[in-house]
């Protein structure tokens, strides 16, 4: 019998998870600002923690060695977030997240947005691998395991994500300087 803690207990991991969570959940479509993203992350984390308590025991003795708790913690968070997004998308009459869904349709004009906005403009399935690898520092195998996809799929999505971000942040040489945006978002 093996008992595996499904959530991390290390402050570094928790901060990583929080940073990853806020970056992942804020998408300029369903979650528009930092405070809402933070609130959603808090809620998903509580949900994950409570589910973990309910789950408790795992019967597979090899699981502890195959997947470490950190990977499972992120994976659990990602699954809860996907479920949340699907529910919201269905409520909005959309089909949820897929590769063709641009989260910031009409807002992400190439060359005119910052890096964070470019990442937020990616569809969820491209944003997940990019952020879990770059922000959370997962190896590709760990990331594939946490996201429940194959390594080949992860590489494909990383390639697409990086190329789209490059296009979105590429400046136009001939473009006139853009007027200042009137509203002040969260200044960090």
């Amino acid at each position: 019998m093996t008992v595996v803690p499904p959530l991390s207990d290390r402050p570094g991991d928790l901060n990583d998870l929080r940073q990853f969570g806020v970056a992942l959940t804020r998408d300029d479509r369903l979650v528009l600002d930092q405070a809402s993203a933070a609130a959603l992350v808090d809620r998903l984390f509580r949900q994950a923690a409570l589910e973990a308590v309910g789950e408790g025991v795992r019967d597979d003795p090899d699981r502890a060695t195959r997947d470490d708790a950190r990977v499972r913690a992120f994976g659990q968070f990602v699954r809860l977030h996907r479920r949340h997004v699907r529910r919201l998308a269905l409520d909005d009459g959309e089909f949820g997240w897929d590769e063709n869904t641009e989260n910031a349709r009409g807002k992400a004009r190439a060359g005119e947005i910052g890096m964070a906005a470019a990442v937020r403009a990616l569809p969820l399935e491209l944003r997940e691998p990019l952020l879990i690898v770059i922000l959370a520092g997962f190896t590709h195998r760990e990331a594939a395991s946490a996201l429940d996809i194959s390594l080949a799929t992860l590489i494909t999505r990383l390639t697409k994500a990086r190329e789209r971000v490059a296009v979105l942040t590429r400046p136009h040489a001939a473009a006139a300087p853009r007027a200042a945006v009137p509203h002040l978002r969260v200044v960090k």
């Binding site: 207990d9 933070a38 470490d68 906005a117 590709h140 400046p171 978002r185 960090k188």
Partner: protein
Amino acid sequence: MEASRLADLHAYVDDCLEPDERLAFEQQMAQDPALARRAAFWRGQNSAIRTAFDGEGARAFPISIVRHQNEAFGRSARSGATGAKPSGEQSSRAPLTAVAETGRPSAKILARDAFRPWLQWRLGRAVVFVGLAFVWAPAAAVVPGKRLGEAGVAAFQAFARPGVEPVEFATGDTAEAQAWLTTRLGRPVYLPATPAAIKLIGARIAPYPGAPAAFLVYRSQDRAIGLLVQSLDAPATMAPQLLAADGGTAAIWTWRGQGLALAGDLDAALLKIAAEFADSPAEPAQPMPERGW
């Protein structure tokens, strides 16, 4: 690009290669400049993404709670944890398999009394996880403006002192400085036009947490002024404000998705110059350097 090479490229960029694999890939890059350029660009992109989201998860957890958890799970098992990335930067982050091992009831205990220790252990875990859920409560948010001001003052103190070569690229032309910084940093850098009262001396790269920043040195009469420019998730403008940081003063503001920190020994005049910077039009955007694909 063939799939295996693409996978290696991503693995190299994300520090997932073993040392020997990394060496082999670097040899491939030496023979393929386009591959090397693409790797450098993606590395720069990684750095820019980290910077863009820097601070979003940095809310601190109360140390007393963390210590309680650490004690609950035990310290000893963590030392044997494995599975971190091969690169040094990830070595401090051990996976939590060891924690799982710590929390696992031993076979001897199970054999002696299979129920009681297990029940106690599980109740303990429940308390910890519910406690952890409540630990995840809003706390004081990090204010990156302070970090920006500190970085501006630090760069000014390091690079604008008498006797220190203040710039890497000497120019009085803001457009030239912008083009040079865009090329060097691998991301678009936008510079405000130089106010009439000061003169641009040149530009250099300055350290900043997560990713290097652009730093410009100006002169106002016989005094130096430094302007640190860093990409932030701040697409709107914010009026300049004075900030005391690290024994110096900086005027900080946001402009065109960037944070700017003006540092110098001018005190009140600093804010006036910053206001002139903030009101000035931008230099036209520069094209990015070739990316290799």
